[in-house]
């Protein structure tokens, strides 16, 4: 097998950024909420990314914000993938009326722009709480995972190896979990990486719109919305925050691509 540069580069980039965000949970150069320094300082050795409109250290806030954003994205994907794979597997494997009904419901949900749907859910649950943000985004991500998983299971249902293990007396649960699931991995892994990137972006959009993370907590999306209004005066704010976000998305994207090569899936 030829060396998988995609995977290597992706893991390296994501690893560095994840370590950076993880470090931000325990230690930052300054308190990210403290308004101690002068406002709108350009990047310097003391403030690597400069300071924002309140005189807060942007580097520290990016560290904290990246952690918040990635954590929210991870939880979102956990809910979306968990629910989606379970639903997709059951409906795809058994088929029938439940399958039809659920697929139609999924179609109806995907007919709405996902942000709009998340907005509705979050306004029902009440904005301003990270838990509600994760729940609403998680729900929105379920249909896409369910669709991918269902397709894979529906195909596998008729495969000879499934029929064989059924004849050998394996239970439905065992067939689904032990025999089919590993075979859907290539598809699922790329769905996971793409989904994760979408979740990071979704969190950013929600916070950008002011219904995600509440100030003064930092998240990349909220920081971008703050940065946008002062772009003329402190371009480094938007550039550094946006740069970190894009690098992370790029890294995860590379991992997804790399995994597809390794599993022998189709390259995009």
């Amino acid at each position: 097998m030829r060396r998988n540069y995609y995977l290597f580069a992706g893991l390296l980039l994501t690893g560095v950024l994840a370590a950076f965000a993880l470090l931000g949970v325990f230690w930052t150069p300054y308190d990210g909420a403290a308004m101690g320094a002068e406002k709108f300082l350009p990047p310097s050795p003391a403030h690597l990314f400069g300071t924002d409109n309140f005189g807060r250290d942007i580097f520290s806030r990016v560290m904290e914000g990246a952690g918040t954003s990635f954590l929210i994205a991870l939880c979102t994907i956990a809910i979306g993938a968990g629910g989606g794979i379970l639903l997709g597997a059951v409906t795809g494997y058994f088929g029938g009326l439940a399958d039809e009904a659920l697929i139609r419901v999924g179609d109806a949900l995907t007919a709405f722009p996902s942000i709009l749907l998340a907005l509705v859910v979050i306004s029902l649950l009440g904005p301003g709480k990270p838990v509600n943000l994760v729940l609403s985004l998680g729900l929105v991500f379920i249909p896409s995972f369910a669709r991918v998983t269902r397709a894979a299971y529906a195909e596998a249902r008729e495969a000879n190896y499934v029929k064989s293990v059924r004849l050998m007396g394996a239970s439905h649960a065992r067939v689904m979990l032990v025999h089919i699931l590993p075979n859907t991995m290539p598809v699922l892994l790329s769905a996971l990486t793409i989904g994760f990137n979408n979740a990071v972006l979704a969190e950013a959009s929600m916070s950008y719109l002011g219904i995600g993370v509440t100030p003064p907590d930092a998240s990349l999306g909220y920081m971008l919305s703050e940065a946008q209004s002062v772009f003329g005066r402190a371009p480094w704010y938007a550039l550094s925050t946006g740069g970190v976000m894009i690098s992370f998305l790029f890294g995860v994207g590379l991992i997804g691509e790399g995994l597809r090569f390794r599993e022998g899936g189709p390259a995009l």
């Binding site: 403290a34 219904i211 509440t214 100030p215």
Partner: protein, 503 residues
């Protein structure tokens, strides 16, 4: 081939347009023309039908009443040259200024004033689109002994009646106000292009002498991004109500004039819920908050610190000694908290309507300042509707950052809301002395005495730390460097009369 040619012509045309756009970037020479940017189109041209503050702001220059407000908040004679009030305060006699002309050339008489006041009084056959003035229902009769005299008899005495006579006087029987408004102001209406512009021209027969600027074009620029562009490209010479961020990005061709928004921005505390029902806790918060630091951090230093529910535009009612009643003193705040039984501080929420970025920014600074005395404040951003229903009407909140304004230019409008029985007493303020002072002020007939009582009410709010008062927010206006004469009013108007170009 044809298409290529067309594309060439088009791109050439666009290039010319670009060039001319750049050409207008030169600052205009001192001259008689002025271009003002306004953020919204006018809703009606009839002075008795307009609702939007942005409309009244511009048409202030076209219409006048018997009296008109001054920049300091007093009422100046306008169409009425002078007036007398009877001792029982029931009869007002106005002598009109002689030879004042409407924009259509006719002379202003007392019949026009009666027509205008009647048009604004609510009766059974008042058209629905007239914005009636409730105070005029207090008028028992109007008499016009001669063309230049108007006598108003009231049903009951009122200290505030005169302030409503700023209502526009229009020619009796003139029906075309909606399309071709006619008033007596220093500028007359010329034309309007919906969603685009309104053109005014100076009225050479104005009783106060003609204005310096000849033509004023008000350009409607609704897009926030367009505001900066229009200023920098030279399309607009003056723009009011800029945000701090917009003001910061202006070029050197402009200067920023700072007026006041005329509202009381504070961390309003729900006096009925724990721990804010304890005076010491409220005072501790007042000591912990550094007003000037809030203004510096969140408002770039623009803003006027205040210490009670009154702002400087109120002149004689405003008590500036209250501003520093609670100096920034962390130690004192901690002691008070300890006395109140919270030596380690407590947790609280600050409800903020999320559509108001200035209030959200203020709350962020407050959270940081309160941390210093161990109070852990959490911001709860809510939609405007939710804030209105739950926090303001439902009084279901712990604390909130908001700006409270006065519906009329009277101290009562700001202070009545904190009497214990007031329906809009959203902070549940309840103090016997305060209620008593208010009742006294209402029955008081002497102006000085009444002013003293209102000032005592202000002091009462401060001493009892009803709220953590912060500032009267700044209203920023961008104006081209060689344009002078900007005057700010305690009400929402843009006075074009005094503006002039310096060479």
């Amino acid at each position: 081939m044809k298409k290529t040619f067309l594309a060439l012509v088009l791109s050439a045309a666009m290039f010319c347009a670009l060039l001319s756009g750049c050409g207008s970037g030169e600052p205009p020479a001192a001259g008689p023309e002025l271009s003002v940017g306004i953020a919204q189109d006018l809703d009606s041209l009839d002075p008795h039908k307009m609702v939007a503050a942005g409309t009244k702001e511009i048409m202030f220059n076209v219409f006048e009443g018997l009296v008109k407000p001054s920049p300091s908040g007093d009422l100046l004679p306008a169409l009425a040259e002078n007036w007398t009030v009877s001792d029982d305060r029931l009869t007002y006699t106005f002598n009109l200024r002689p030879d004042v002309k409407f924009h259509n050339g006719s002379i202003v008489t007392s019949a026009d004033a009666v027509y205008s006041l009647e048009r604004l009084s609510a009766t059974a056959d008042t058209p629905a689109d007239i914005v009636t003035v409730d105070a005029f229902s207090n008028i028992a009769s109007m008499e016009t002994p001669d063309e230049m005299t108007l006598i108003l008899r009231l049903k009951e005495p009122s200290n505030e009646f005169l302030s409503y006579l700023t209502a526009a006087v229009i020619p009796a029987g003139y029906e075309e106000q909606e399309t071709m408004p006619v008033g007596t102001g220093p500028f007359r209406f010329v034309s309007r292009t919906a969603q685009e512009s309104v053109v005014l021209e100076r009225f050479d027969d104005y009783w106060g002498g003609p204005a310096a600027i000849k033509t004023v074009t008000c350009r409607v620029i609704e897009n926030a991004d367009g505001i900066l562009m229009s200023l920098q490209s030279g399309a607009v010479d003056l723009f009011a109500h800029l945000t701090i961020t917009q003001a910061q990005q202006l070029t050197d061709d402009f200067r920023i004039e700072q007026g006041a928004m005329n509202l009381v921005q504070a961390l309003y505390l729900n006096n009925a819920v724990e721990p804010f029902n304890d005076l010491r806790v409220r005072q501790a918060l007042c000591y912990a908050v550094d007003k000037q630091a809030v203004i510096d951090l969140a408002f770039d230093g623009f803003g006027f610190p205040i210490g009670s529910s009154m702002y400087p535009a109120f002149g004689k009612y405003f008590d500036e000694t209250l501003i520093d009643y609670y100096p920034h003193d962390i130690q004192r705040a901690k002691e008070l908290l300890a006395e109140a039984g919270y030596p380690d501080g407590f947790s609280m929420t600050i409800t903020v309507p999320s559509n108001y970025q200035p209030h959200l920014d203020t709350a962020q600074v407050l959270v940081e300042q309160l941390k210093e005395i161990g109070v852990n404040a959490e911001i709860l951003p809510v939609e405007w509707e939710t804030w209105l229903n739950d926090a303001y009407i439902g009084r279901n909140f712990e604390s909130t950052v908001i700006g409270v304004d006065a519906s009329t230019m009277t101290a009562r409008a700001l202070l009545e809301r904190f009497t214990s029985s007031a329906g809009n007493n959203f902070i549940n303020y309840n103090h016997e002395d305060y209620d008593r002072l208010f009742t006294e002020a209402q029955s008081c007939t002497d102006d000085d005495e009444q002013t003293a009582l209102y000032r005592a009410m202000e002091r009462n709010l401060t001493e009892n730390a009803a709220n953590v008062y912060i500032q009267d927010m700044a209203d920023l206006l961008a104006v081209r460097n060689n344009l002078t004469g900007v005057r700010f009013y305690p009400i929402y108007v843009l006075d074009l009369y005094g503006l002039r170009w310096e060479s």
